[in-house]
């Protein structure tokens, strides 16, 4: 290990700009209401490796994003998707 970036969230939900606002808000509300002590949703949270959903934040991705651009890490993948 040569160096470390600051921590960033391992996943998030990204909605398109034109996504219906009301439904998106409701979806967010439902996620934030999920509790780990509820057996009905615990299996899903276990699969996602989390105990709780938190409001989204994207700041942590900046370093990752810069690194991808600099090294072209995702270029091949993007080409694969678009051709």
């Amino acid at each position: 290990m040569l160096t470390q970036t600051p921590p960033y969230d391992h996943c998030n939900f990204t909605a398109l700009d034109n996504a219906p606002e009301q439904q998106t808000a409701r979806f967010r509300e439902l996620l934030l209401e999920m509790r780990y002590d509820d057996p009905a949703v615990r299996g899903l949270m276990d699969m996602e490796g989390l105990k709780q959903w938190l409001p989204g934040r994207t700041e942590g991705y900046a370093a990752l994003s810069r690194a991808c651009e600099r090294f072209g890490t995702l270029d091949g993948f993007v080409r694969y998707l678009t051709t």
Partner: protein, 394 residues
């Protein structure tokens, strides 16, 4: 504040166990300070803490980390249930299907799958004696290879050897029924009733050995087995088809194996060779346990359920009617019994063999009556039901 020092122990070397142990003693929000010198400790710690629901406070000094115990750390066990008590008295009356395969007495996480065990009520299958009988059965397992004197030299007259082969063929068929029937119920039984499940499993294992030794005795001097009749199979099929556990236990273990116990002891007494004597003796000692469980289970069930005896009696009548037009016992089997009891072909010996075989039938009847009375039937009812038992013995 609690502090631990894990030295240079890395996360993948077990440092997480030390952290987990220290955090378990804290309340949510309380702080644990960890000193650790492994170079990647911080990276690993962050990922672990996140997955466990603990928060990480900003680092203070180098090689020192601060964890705040999370709210959700024990949340998995909210709503968990204790599945009865582990001991023999700890089985509950109706264990929920969601306890599934969990060990009795274990703490079961909420949200597990619903199983579909058909036999899930204690009153329908429990016997206090099951644990003791299982322990006895486990201690009494014998090795077919060493328990039977396979190499002992003997030579029987041709017809006597044929008679033994025919009897062994018949025994294998019947013991196969006695293997298949409890096996099916094991899979239907809620595993909460551990002792009963174990006992049935070891009964099936007993029968597997019986099938083995009877087959091996049949093939000791011959390369073919004997005859299997439609009537015999029809009689056994009524056992295999019986869907009710109590009725099945009654017909198989009390009526059938009860009768078989007398038969096996008769065969042991009149065995013409040491191998036949050994295999029938060993099988009889196992069957005695099967009968003991059948009687204990049904006696306990009948004491709780006053209508049970009536249902059992009805089942005997039903089976009798189903078999009314079948031949029952294989004639070759019956003749083989006479010949073994006779010992040779002189008229006097055959007369004696016939007398002994007739006496065998009386002993079987007496044995069934005794068992029926132990289950709870009156002397009169026991006599009547015994008389309706299948002529195929099992």
């Amino acid at each position: 504040m609690t502090a631990i020092d894990v030295g240079d122990l890395r996360f993948d070397e077990g440092a997480h166990l030390l952290l987990g142990r220290a955090l378990a003693a804290l309340r949510p929000g309380e702080r644990l300070t960890v000193r650790a010198t492994a170079s990647d400790f911080g990276v690993q710690l962050r990922a672990w803490a996140r997955a466990q629901g603990h928060a990480l406070a900003p680092p203070g000094q180098p090689e020192t980390y601060c964890l705040l115990r999370g709210e959700t750390a024990g949340a998995r066990w909210a709503g968990a249930e204790q599945a009865g008590q582990a001991g023999p008295g700890g089985a509950v009356e109706k264990p929920p299907q969601r306890w599934g395969l969990a060990a009795r007495g274990a703490k079961v996480e909420a949200g597990g799958p619903e199983f579909r065990f058909i036999l899930a009520e204690k009153s329908a299958l429990w016997a206090d004696e099951a644990a003791r009988l299982y322990a006895r059965a486990a201690a009494a397992q014998w090795d077919p290879e060493t328990a039977v004197p396979w190499d002992e030299a003997f030579e029987l007259p041709g017809e006597v050897e044929d008679a033994v082969v025919q009897l062994m063929t018949y025994l294998v068929e019947n013991e196969t029924a006695a293997l298949v029937v409890p096996s099916r119920f094991i899979a239907q039984m809620h595993p909460h009733f551990r002792e009963v499940m174990q006992l049935l499993a070891i009964q099936a294992a007993d029968e597997a050995r019986h099938v083995e030794v009877f087959t091996r005795r049949a093939l000791l001097k011959r390369d073919k087995l004997g005859l299997s009749t439609a009537g015999g199979q029809l009689s056994l099929k009524t056992l295999v088809d019986e869907p009710n556990f109590a009725v099945s236990a009654f017909l198989l273990s009390v009526m059938g194996e009860g009768t078989f116990l007398t038969l096996l002891r008769f065969l042991e007494r009149h065995a013409p060779d040491p191998v036949t004597r050994a295999v029938t003796r060993l099988a009889a000692s196992d069957e005695a346990r099967h009968v003991a469980f059948g009687v204990a289970h049904l006696r306990e069930s009948a004491s709780r359920d006053s209508a049970l005896l009536e249902r059992l009696a009805l089942a005997v009548h039903r089976r009798h009617d189903a078999l009314r037009h079948s031949a029952g016992l294989n004639a070759e089997v019956f003749d083989a019994l006479i010949l073994l009891a006779a010992g040779d072909w002189t008229p006097e010996a055959l007369r004696n063999g016939s007398r002994l075989t007739a006496r065998l039938l009386e002993d079987m009847d007496q044995q069934r009556r005794t068992l029926l009375e132990r289950v709870g039937f009156s002397v009169e009812a026991a006599a009547k039901l015994s008389g309706l038992h299948t002529r195929n013995f099992m």
